[in-house]
Symmetry: C2
Subunit: 774 residues, 2 copies
Amino acid sequence: MQDLNAVQSLAVWAVLVVSLLGIGYAFFIRSQILAQDTGTPRMREVWGYIKTGANAYLSQQFRTISILIVILTFVLAASVFIIPPTTEAVERFGSKEAATLWVAIGRAVAFLMGSLFSYAVGFVGMNVAVEGNVRVAAASRKGYNPALQVAYKSGSVTGMLTVGLGLLGGTLIFMVFGIAAPDALLGFGFGGSLIALFMRVGGGIYTKAADVGADLVGKVEAGIPEDDPRNAAVIADLVGDNVGDCAGMAADVFESFEVTLVSAMILGIVLGDAVAGVMGDGQYDLRFIIFPLVLRAIGVIASVIGNQFVTTDERKRNAMAAMNRGFYIAAGLAIVASAAATPVFMVDAAGNVDWRPFFATLSGVILAIALDKLTEYFTSTHFSPVKETSKASQTGSATNILSGLALGMESSVWAILVISASIFTSVLIYSGEPAATQFTAILYGVSLTGIGMLLLTGNTISMDSFGPISDNANGIGEMAGLDKNARNVMDDLDAVGNTTKAVTKGIAIGSAVIAAVALYGSYFTDVNKVIKQMIDEGAKGIELLSSINVAAPDVFIGLLIGGAVPFLFSALTIRAVSRAAAQIVNEVRRQFRIPGLMEGKVVPDYARAVQISTTAAQKELISLGLIAVMVPIIVGFTLGVEALGGFLAGIILTGQLMAVFQANAGGAWDNAKKYIEEGNFGGKHSEPHKAAVVGDTVGDPLKDTSGPALNPMIKVINLVALIIAPIIVTIEPGNPGVIVAMIICVAALVWAIWQSKRESEALKEIAQAPASAD
Amino acid sequence: MQDLNAVQSLAVWAVLVVSLLGIGYAFFIRSQILAQDTGTPRMREVWGYIKTGANAYLSQQFRTISILIVILTFVLAASVFIIPPTTEAVERFGSKEAATLWVAIGRAVAFLMGSLFSYAVGFVGMNVAVEGNVRVAAASRKGYNPALQVAYKSGSVTGMLTVGLGLLGGTLIFMVFGIAAPDALLGFGFGGSLIALFMRVGGGIYTKAADVGADLVGKVEAGIPEDDPRNAAVIADLVGDNVGDCAGMAADVFESFEVTLVSAMILGIVLGDAVAGVMGDGQYDLRFIIFPLVLRAIGVIASVIGNQFVTTDERKRNAMAAMNRGFYIAAGLAIVASAAATPVFMVDAAGNVDWRPFFATLSGVILAIALDKLTEYFTSTHFSPVKETSKASQTGSATNILSGLALGMESSVWAILVISASIFTSVLIYSGEPAATQFTAILYGVSLTGIGMLLLTGNTISMDSFGPISDNANGIGEMAGLDKNARNVMDDLDAVGNTTKAVTKGIAIGSAVIAAVALYGSYFTDVNKVIKQMIDEGAKGIELLSSINVAAPDVFIGLLIGGAVPFLFSALTIRAVSRAAAQIVNEVRRQFRIPGLMEGKVVPDYARAVQISTTAAQKELISLGLIAVMVPIIVGFTLGVEALGGFLAGIILTGQLMAVFQANAGGAWDNAKKYIEEGNFGGKHSEPHKAAVVGDTVGDPLKDTSGPALNPMIKVINLVALIIAPIIVTIEPGNPGVIVAMIICVAALVWAIWQSKRESEALKEIAQAPASAD
C-alpha cells in the first residue's frame, strides 16, 4: 500500500473493520434467533427431519466438489508460471521470480478463500434458515410482528454475512497485494462464482426434483394432498426450499457482490494507471480502487441501520411496507453517505472533485429499483400480464403456456433495455473524458453501476431469504397443525415472501450482466496488457488487439457458439430436473406399496427420498461445472483470444435474455395459478385452475433451476476466459502441451455432455409402468 | 457489361434464358395440373370454399401492404439523393448526377420488382396448391403414384417459379447496372424480404388463429370432431394451410434464394474490385459475380431433371424414397456441373483455375443435407428425442412441455454448431488468401455456401409444398367422404409431407443465417466504401471503420438491443395468434347458437370466419413490419454505424437460436402426439395423448408463426441497415431533418408496439364468458 495517502490508508483499515463488524453482526442476530422458542414437540420433529436432510445435502455437496476445488487450486497456481508476471506484480514483489511465486500462491489462496466464503454464506444461510423456520412458526402463535421479526432477522444473518465476507475478502487481497491485486482477485472471483454455480445448479435440481416428483406421484397419481406426511418425498421437498432458495440464492448473490467488487477494483487499478500515465507523475492513482471499497462499507452500515426499521404493529400487519421502509431508509442513507464520501475520496492531487463515479453508482441504485419494478410488473398478481395469463387458463393449459412464454420473452426485452440504458448512462457520464482513458473510464463507470446495484445487498438478501423461510414455516405449521390465527399470520408472510423472492431474482440477474460487461471490458484491457509486455520484451509477429471485431468471421463464430451455451445449459438443467424427479417418483411409488403406509400406520422412509435427491443433484453437478469451465478453454485455444471475446459477448447476451425469460415466465405462471386460487376465473379446483397448475409445473424448473443457474455460469465463463487469455496469448500455436490439454478438455466436455444427456434408468422404469400411473 | 469477356457475356445471356425456361416450365406443369380431374361435386364444393377464402386473403393482404410498398418505393428513391454516388455508379453512368438519378430509379424499380416477384411466387404457389389439393384427392382414387405425381408437381410449380424469378431478377439487374449492380440489388433484396416477412407473419397468424380457434371451440368446448362441417372455422383452417404453409413458405424461400444471390453478387463485385486492385490492371474482375449466376442456373436445370425421377410404382408406394431420389440425382448433377463450370468461369487472366469457390459451394450443399438430418433427428418419430417427449407425456402435459422445451433448446445448439462449422470452412478455404483481400474472400466464400445451400431450391420447395397440398387433399377427402383406398393413399402422403415440411424449415432458417452473415460482411465493407469516398473528397474528422468492436460499450449496447428484437418479435407474434384465435372462438360460439346449425340443418357462414381471420392477420401485419423497419433506423441514427453493426450481430445470433428452438420444439411436440397416436403409450384418447395434444397446441404458433417469421425478419433488418448505413455516415449528427425523422420513427415504433400489445376486445369477451366454456 505504498501509494496510499493517509486518508486512504485509514479508509482501508476502516473498511476492514466494517466488514468484520458486518460478520459479527450476523452472528449476533443468529444467537438472538437461536434463543427463540422452537414450539411443540411435533413441530420440532418435522423440523428435525428437515434439518438432517439439509445438512446431509450440503456436506455431501462439499465432498463432491472439494476434489474439483483442490485440483483447480493447483491448476490455477501452476498456470501462473506459464505467463510473464505483470509489471505491477514485479513492482510490488521486487523481482520477476518473486512476483510469479507470490501471484501463484495469491491466486490459489484467493481462489480457496472465494470458494470457502461462498460456501460459508450458503451453508450458514441455509442453516439459519432451517433454524428460523420452526421459530417463525412458533412466533406466529404470539402475533404478526414477532413472526415477521424472526423471519426477517433470519434472512438478515445471510445478508450481513454476504456483505461482510465479500468485503473482507476484497479488502484483505488489496491490503496484501496492493497494485498487484487484480492477479489474486481473479482467483477470488472465480472461486466464489464456481461454488455459486454448484450451489445454484445442485440446489436448483434438488429442490425442483423433489417438488415436481412429490407432486406428480402424490397429488396426480395417488390423489393425496400436498405436504401429506404419507408422501415419502414431502420432507425432501421442504429441504429443497432451503438448499435451493436459501443456500443457492445466497451463494449466487454473494458471488455477484464479490464479482462486481472484483471488476471495479481491476478496472480501478487500470484506470488509475492510465490516469497516472496521462498525468505523468509515475505514481499509481489508487483512489479508483479505494472508492468502491468505501462504497461497499457504506452499504453495509446503511443495511444494518435500515434493518432496524423493519417492524410493523399488530393492527397494520403489513410486512411488505415494513421491509420496503427498511430498504428505502437504507437506500437514502447510502446515497447521502456516498455523496459525502465523494469529495473525500474522489479528489485528485490538485483538489478537483470527480463526481462522475458517484453518479455511476447512483445509476446502479436506480437500476436495481427499476429492475425491481419491472419484475414486479411482469410477475405480480396486481398487474395485467399475470392477470392475462390467468385469463388464458380459461381456454386450457396450452393457452396458459403460450401466454406465459410470450410474457417471459417480452419481459426479457424490457429488462435488457433498462440494463442498456444504465450502461449508456456511463457512456454519457464519461463522454467528456480524454480519448486515452475514456474506454477504461466508461467500463469503470459500468462496474460502479454494478456496485450501486448491490449496494444494499444486506437488505436485498434479508428480503429474499425471508421468502423461503416463511414458506417453510408455513409448511411446518401445516404439518404440525397449528391454530388458525397462527396459520393466517404465516399465510400472509408466505405471500409477501413470494413477491420479495421474485424481485431479488431480477436484481441478481441484472447484476450478473452488469458485472459481466465490466469483466468483459477488463478482458480486453488484460489481453492487451500481456501483449504489450511481450512486445516490450521483444516478441515478434504479435500485435495489440485493437478490437473484438464481430465482423470478422472467426469472431462471429465465437459469438454464435457463445450464444448457444446458455441454450445448452438450460436444456441440460431442465432435463436433469426431469431425470431426478423420475427417480423420486419411482421411490415414492415403491414406498406407497409398503403395507400400512397408506393407512398412516407406517412412517415413510423420508431419509431415503432425501438421499435420492441429494445423489441425483450431485451427479449432474460435475458435468455441468465441467461444461462451464471447458467450453471457454476450447474456444479460446482453438479460435484465439479475439474469437474468445466474441464468445463472451454471445454468452452475456443470450445468458441475460434466457435467464430473465425463464425466471419471469416461471414467476408469472406461479402467480397466475395463485391469482386463480384467490377466487378468480373459477377459483381452486376449477378447470382454469388445473390448466394453471400445468403452467406452474412447467415454470418450476425454469424459474428455480435453469434460469438462475445462468447468472453464475455467465460469470464463471467470463472469469475462466480472463484467466486463460494471457496463456493463449503467451503460448505459441501448435505447442504440444496445448494439444494434449485440448484433447483432455474436449474429452471431458464430450463426457460431460453425454453424461447430462443420457436417459436414466429411472426414466425407463417410469416408461415401463404406465399402467400403474392411471 | 463493358468488363465482360466473350465467354462471360454468353454465360449471362444463357443464365437469363435458363431463368425464363424455369418460369416457362413452371407454367407448363401448372397447365398439366389444371387438366386433371377435380372429382365429385361435393369435393368441388369444399374446394370452392377454400379457393374463395384463399384468394380473398391474398387480395386483401395485397391491398393492405401496397400502400406501404408505394411509400417505401418513394422513400428509397429519395434516400439515394442524400448520399454521394459510388465510384462504380459514376463509372457506369458517366456523371455523378446521372449516377444518382439512375441508382434512385434502379433501386426503386428493383424494390418493386423484388416485392412483386416475391408476391407472385406466394400467390401462384398458393393458387396452384389450392388447385392441386382437390386434384390430388381425385387422383388418389386412381392410385398411389397418380396422387403423388399431382401433389409433387403442384409443388414443383412453386419451386420452379421461385428459382426462375429469383434468377431472372438478379440477372436483369446485373445486365442493366453492371458494376453498379449492388446499389439496385439492395432494393431487390429488400423488396423480396419485406414481402416475405408479411406473407410469413400474416399467413402464420392466419393459419394458427384459425387452427387454434377452431380446435378450442369445436373439439374442446362443443366436443365435435376436427374438420366437422358444423364448425364455422373449419374452412378458415383449411384456407390457413394454403396461405400459411404454401404462400408464406414460398415467399420466404424465394427471399432466401434471392438474398443469397444478392449477397454473393455484392461481395463478388467488392472482391473483384479488390483482386483487380491488387493485380493493378485497373479492370474490374467480374468472374466473382458471374460464377454465382452460373451456379444458380446449373441448380435450376438440375432441379428440372431431378424432378423427372420423382415417381414410384404401385407396389412400393414409397413417396419419400421417390422424392429423395429426385433430390439426390439433382444434387449429384449440380455438383458435377459446378465442378465442370469452375475451370471455365473461375479462371484468371493468367489461366490459373481457382477451385476454392467450388469448395465453398459444395460446403453449402453439405450444410443443407446436415441441417436436414439434424432437423429430422430432433423432430421425427423415428429417433429418441421425439420418443422421449412422447414418453414424458405419461406424467402429464407439464413434463411433455418441459421435454419439448429442452429438446428445442438443445437442437438449436447443434444447428448453430453446424452453421459455425460451415462458416469456418470458408475461413479455412481462404486461409491462404493475401491479407488485403482475405476478409472479403472469406465472406464471399460464406455467400457461396449460401448459394450452395439453396442450389436445389427447385426440389426443396417442391418437397415442402407437397406437405400442405397432401394435408389439404386429405381434409377434402375427409369432408367429401372418399373411399378407404383413396383415404389410405392420402394418409400416407400426408405423413410423408409432415417430414418434408419440417426438413425444409431447417434449410430455410440455416440459409437465413448464412445469408445474413454474408450481408453482415457487406455491411462493414459498404460503410467503409462510403467513408473512404468522403475522405477522398476532403471530409474532415471522419475515420475508416476498423472493426465492429463489441468490447466498446456503445457497440455492446447495440448487441444487447439487437439480441432482444427476436424475443420481442416472438412475444408479439405469439400474442397476435392468441388474439386472433379469440376472435374466431367468439364467432364460432355465436354461430353455434344459430337455431338448426348444430343439427346440421343450417350451413354455417364459413365466409365470416374466413373474413375474421383475414382481417385479424392483416391488423397485426403493419405493426410488426414497422418494428422490423424502424428499430434499425432508430438504433443506427442514435448509436451510430458501429453500434448498428453490433445490433445486427445480436439479431442474427438470437434470431437463429430462437427460430430453430421454436421450429423444432413445435415439430417435436407435433410428432410426439403422432407417435402416441400410432399406438404407443396408450394411443389415441389416452391420458398421455391428451397431454401431448397440449404440447402440440403450444407448438403450433411457435413452429408456424413466430419461429419462421424470424427468417425474413433477420434479413429485412440487415437490408434496412445496409441501406441506411451510408446515410448515417454522410449526415452530420444533429441535422434537424434527422431529428424530425427520428421523432417520427420513434412515434411509429411506440404505436406499433402498443398496437401489438393491446388486449383485444375479443379476449375480454372470452374472459367474460367462462361459464359457457364449461
